[in-house]
Symmetry: C2
Subunit: 215 residues, 2 copies
Amino acid sequence: MLDAKISVAVIKRLPKYYRYLELIGDKGIIRVSSQELSKITGLTASQIRQDLNHFGAFGQQGYGYNVEELKIELEKIMGVDKPYNVVIIGFGNIGSALLNYSGFKKKGFKVVGIFDNSPEIIGNKANDVVIKDVSELEEVVTREKVDIAILAIPAIPAQEITDKLVACGIKGIWNFAPIDLKLPRNVVLENVHLDGSLLTLTYYMNSLKDYPGVR
Amino acid sequence: MLDAKISVAVIKRLPKYYRYLELIGDKGIIRVSSQELSKITGLTASQIRQDLNHFGAFGQQGYGYNVEELKIELEKIMGVDKPYNVVIIGFGNIGSALLNYSGFKKKGFKVVGIFDNSPEIIGNKANDVVIKDVSELEEVVTREKVDIAILAIPAIPAQEITDKLVACGIKGIWNFAPIDLKLPRNVVLENVHLDGSLLTLTYYMNSLKDYPGVR
DNA sequence: TAGATTGTTAATCGATTAACAATC
DNA sequence: TAGATTGTTAATCGATTAACAATC
């Protein structure tokens, strides 16, 4: 089943599997069955096996899955077995939070550029990276072969900057601006729409009857 | 159809509808059809009508929907027609980013407390709110009748703090810690798992064939 | 070998899309 | 009224769950 198209729902569960595997791996646990994973993740054992089998047969009948092995497979599947060059665009609150985001440091994400349009902070250094004017964005993205751009800017300039990034060959955009960006199909977009998340929270606080519990 | 259980997928689309209604409302557009909404949101007209009809019949045959009216209805549905008292727990990068999060200011979210465990910042003020030691959390949450707690702390202490919040009658938790919190069913949890989002991005950057395009 | 647990197919369930009668 | 567009039912599509043969 390595060829069929894999749905977003499956992909969104992979980081969860990975997180729990790290957790039990750190406890020194060597093997785990889909049933045990089911218990700790809250997903069904059937779904876990089904999900993993989209990518290969990583388990062994009568045994289960080797924790370290499966972790490494998931890293490969999720593409975090290799390094990425990253730029942060917009160095307000969110941008600076992301610079120090611990998720970056563990894995191979390297922030090679920070951009803003405020004269007050341009020229400053943050984590040894000089904050540059957005006008220098294209030069840096091209020269440093940047893979991922983080958009931590308001909605208004986001599409224009995105278009420039695309022209410079960016491969992925992690977008924190509250806007749906238009992109060619070969550039991957992942949105973090905080407004949507917060409104989902308030919805369920007022409509507990629909609340499905922790997802 | 006002009574059937409404799925998460529907709820997650409401903020999107709301955002586009604000957008066209600001342009002075008075009425909009599901077909027009379809064009700008990228969802099908059928789905839009279906979604809205879970909550009531807001449109009018032959006319469409009144933009302002629908906006107000969505505000009621999503529960942002009323104020919320909020505390921020953990005043590192993410916590301070959220304090200034513009989504709060537009709506009725009021930050009534900020907590941290670092002696260096306890006692400081941020946006006129004094940063307090986490030991004072329960007192403030109880006294100020806090509705929502934002967890911007590491995974390790998150469950313990959550248990305290629950004991003080918190109604909702907006969780930025990379952990699946255990909660009674009457306390609503909304997770922002940045690690999951980032790994989804890298997955699709490496498996473009599965990339469904902007979602 | 016997027991356990996977990989995978089939059955069920739920969500999306299509169609159209109702009605403004 | 005629045209447009909703609200809603029925059809389709896809994802989850159940079941079990394969096999370690």
